[in-house]
C-alpha cells in the first residue's frame, strides 16, 4: 500500500482511538466522578464489573475495534520513528515486516480473548 494511504489510515485510527480510548479512560479511571453523576461502573476493575462489560456485545465489538486501531496507530508510529534513524533500506523493510507480524499476532490474541469471554 502507498505510504500516503498508510498515513491516512494512521490518522483515521487516531480519530477512532480518541473516542474509544476516551470512553475507556472515563469508565476505568474517572469512575468516582462518573459515580457522582450517577453513571458508569463502580469499582470498574473488579472481576464482576470487568466480566459484566466483557459479556456485552457493545464492549466486545468496541474492544476489538480499539485493539486494531491502537495496534496499527502505535506500531505504524513506531515504524516512522525508527525510519528517522538513517538505517539502511533493507533493515527498514525487515523492521516493518517484524512490526506487521507482531501487530497481527497481538491483534489475533486480543481479539480471541474478547470473543472467547463474550461467547463463554
Amino acid at each position: 500500500m502507498r505510504e500516503s494511504k498508510l498515513w491516512l489510515l494512521h490518522l483515521l485510527a487516531g480519530a477512532i482511538i480518541f473516542f474509544l480510548l476516551g470512553l475507556h479512560m472515563f469508565i476505568m479511571h474517572l469512575d468516582s466522578i462518573l459515580a457522582w453523576l450517577g453513571i458508569g461502573y463502580r469499582e470498574p476493575i473488579d472481576a464482576a464489573s470487568v466480566f459484566a462489560r466483557s459479556r456485552q456485545a457493545f464492549f466486545m465489538v468496541t474492544y476489538i475495534i480499539l485493539l486494531g486501531a491502537a495496534l496499527y496507530h502505535g506500531l505504524y508510529g513506531l515504524k516512522n520513528i525508527i525510519n528517522e534513524m538513517n538505517l539502511s533500506h533493507v533493515i527498514e523493510k525487515v523492521i516493518a515486516g517484524v512490526l506487521t507480524v507482531s501487530g497481527l499476532i497481538l491483534f489475533a490474541y486480543g481479539a480471541y480473548t474478547a470473543i472467547f469471554i463474550f461467547v463463554k
Binding site: F18, M25, I33, A47, V50, F51, S54, G74, L78, I81
Partner: protein, 152 residues
C-alpha cells in the same frame, strides 16, 4: 553525475539530526516541544498497551485468575505508573487532535499574501494548542482526584 548524487545523499543525511532532532526545538517554538512530548508519550502508551493486552488476556482463565493478576499490580508504584499513563493519554489525545485538525488544514486560516508583519500558520493555530493543553490539564487534575483522593 554519480558524485553529484553521492554529494546529495551526504547532504541529505547531514540535514537529518536523528534522535538529537527530537529534543532540539530550534526556532520552531512550542509546537516542536509538543512534538517531542507527543513521541515520548506515544512510545510510553505503546509499551503499556502491549503489556495491557497480555494482562487483560488473563480473563480467559476466569474471574479468579483476573483477580490474582490485578493483585500483582496492586501497589503504589504500579498506581503511580498507571497515573503516568493516564497523563500521557490525556496529553497525546488532545495534542493529537490538534495535529489531526491542522493536518487537514483547519485552525490555520486562509492562505494570505506574505505581507510584513507575517502571521504564519504555526502562530495562527497556537490558540488551539493553548486551549487543548488547558483541557488536557483539567482532565489530568480530574484523573488525579480520582486516582488518589476519591478512588480509595
Amino acid at each position: 553525475m554519480p558524485d553529484e548524487k553521492k554529494l546529495q545523499t551526504v547532504q541529505h543525511k547531514k540535514n537529518r539530526l536523528g534522535i538529537a532532532g527530537w529534543v532540539y526545538g530550534g526556532r520552531y517554538g512550542a509546537e516542536r516541544y509538543a512534538y517531542t512530548l507527543h513521541r515520548i508519550t506515544g512510545l510510553g502508551i505503546l509499551f503499556y498497551f502491549i503489556l495491557h493486552i497480555f494482562a487483560t488476556g488473563s480473563r480467559i482463565w476466569g474471574e479468579a485468575a483476573w483477580t490474582r493478576t490485578m493483585a500483582l499490580f496492586d501497589s503504589p508504584v504500579f498506581k503511580a505508573g498507571e497515573f503516568l499513563v493516564f497523563i500521557a493519554f490525556a496529553y497525546h489525545a488532545l495534542n493529537g487532535l490538534r495535529l489531526l485538525f491542522t493536518e487537514l488544514g483547519c485552525w490555520m486560516g486562509k492562505p494570505q499574501r506574505p505581507v510584513i508583519p507575517y502571521k504564519n500558520a504555526v502562530r495562527r493555530q497556537r490558540p488551539a494548542l493553548v486551549v487543548l493543553m488547558i483541557i488536557a490539564l483539567v482532565i489530568i487534575i480530574l484523573g488525579g482526584f480520582d486516582f488518589y483522593l476519591l478512588g480509595e
